[in-house]
Amino acid sequence: MSDDRRRLFRLWRRTAKTVGVASGIGTADEAALFGAHEKALGSSRAASDAVQRIASTLAKQRGTVEATIDKSRAIEGRANDVVLALARLTQLFERLGLVALNAGLEGARLPEQGGAALRLVSDDVRAHAISGQESSRDLGNALGELASDLGQLLTSLERAREASTDAAQEAARAAAAAADAERAVADMADGLKKATGSDPETVRAIAEATEHARALVASLGTLSGKVPQAFVASAIRPVLEPLVRMLDSDGDAGAEDPPKDSKRGTKE
């Protein structure tokens, strides 16, 4: 534990020195810069993934729409076949009605007893023929309306397919732009390293250590006035003893040019 802390302290001192002198920005700014860079990199990757998922979903949607169009066209063709079949059926009922009329006419020519049965059958068949004719016409009209609705549905599906195609093209452009952004943000990391003379891991570690130190100071400030200072010092001395020794030994080595953050951290 002691080696790790010494290494962290050396890194902090070295980074604080180089940054403070070379670029005029502090460790906190560097941490914010690298944090922002990481967020930008993560966001650009997330955007790229999202755009790819959108493109994939659009491709599936387009496939579904095309399959629906094919099925609708097949149904439209079958509906037209059924309409033609119903037209033939209507003609058959018309012919059947004519046969019944002619049978009735023949029954009228026959003597009363023989013709009566024929006329009865004629009337019955003609009634059924007329009923079948009307039913087949109604069915044909209903199927015609269905085919018309199906045609409108096909038009809507064609529009949906065109919209899906456009959206897929836009998604492809967005995916390319997201990939470019991701590369640019990734390249930006090298520039940041050169400009700051540090690396993201070090800066992040120092920032975390600084935050912990601030939290410790804030906690001590909360306790002051409520608890006797001697009591607090005796309670935290065993924990802080190694840190104090480390700061004393490493602080002597870097006492020639202490950075601003270093001064503030030591004071705190």
Partner: protein
């Protein structure tokens, strides 16, 4: 009285079974140039070319009748019933059916008017 009752633009008409031969589906008609207004055209029925006259606007079926041994096609009607009908005593020469009273169709007058109109047209042309 045996026969068939048809509905025309001029009302119900009764065609006796002795005149009415049969009903056929509406055939293809060939128009005749300078034909009288009542003559719709000619049609081929059972291998015979017959004149076709019209009684109205309907074109559902054609009734083939015989007049003086010659077939004549009649269109422009809707069939009401076929069979035997009771004579309507209040109107001599008419029959009673469910749809009302039907006058007996005078096929001779129709044929005569066609001939007269045809001759009249020829005289006008000269």
């Amino acid at each position: 009285m045996g026969g068939v009752v048809v509905d025309t633009d001029g009302g119900l008409l009764f065609v006796p079974a002795s005149v009415a031969l049969k009903f056929v589906a509406m055939p293809k008609l060939l128009t005749v140039p300078d034909a009288p207004p009542g003559l719709l055209g000619v049609a081929l029925i059972d291998g015979t070319v017959i004149p076709v006259v019209t009684l109205g606007s309907s074109r559902d079926t054609m009734l083939v009748c015989t007049y003086l041994g010659e077939p004549i096609g009649i269109v422009g009607h809707t069939v009401v019933a076929s069979g035997t009908f009771e004579p309507a005593h209040e109107q001599p020469g008419s029959v009673r059916c469910k749809a009302g009273i039907a006058k007996t169709m005078d096929l001779s007058s129709v044929a005569a008017s066609l001939s007269k109109n045809a001759w009249a047209g020829r005289s006008t042309g000269l």
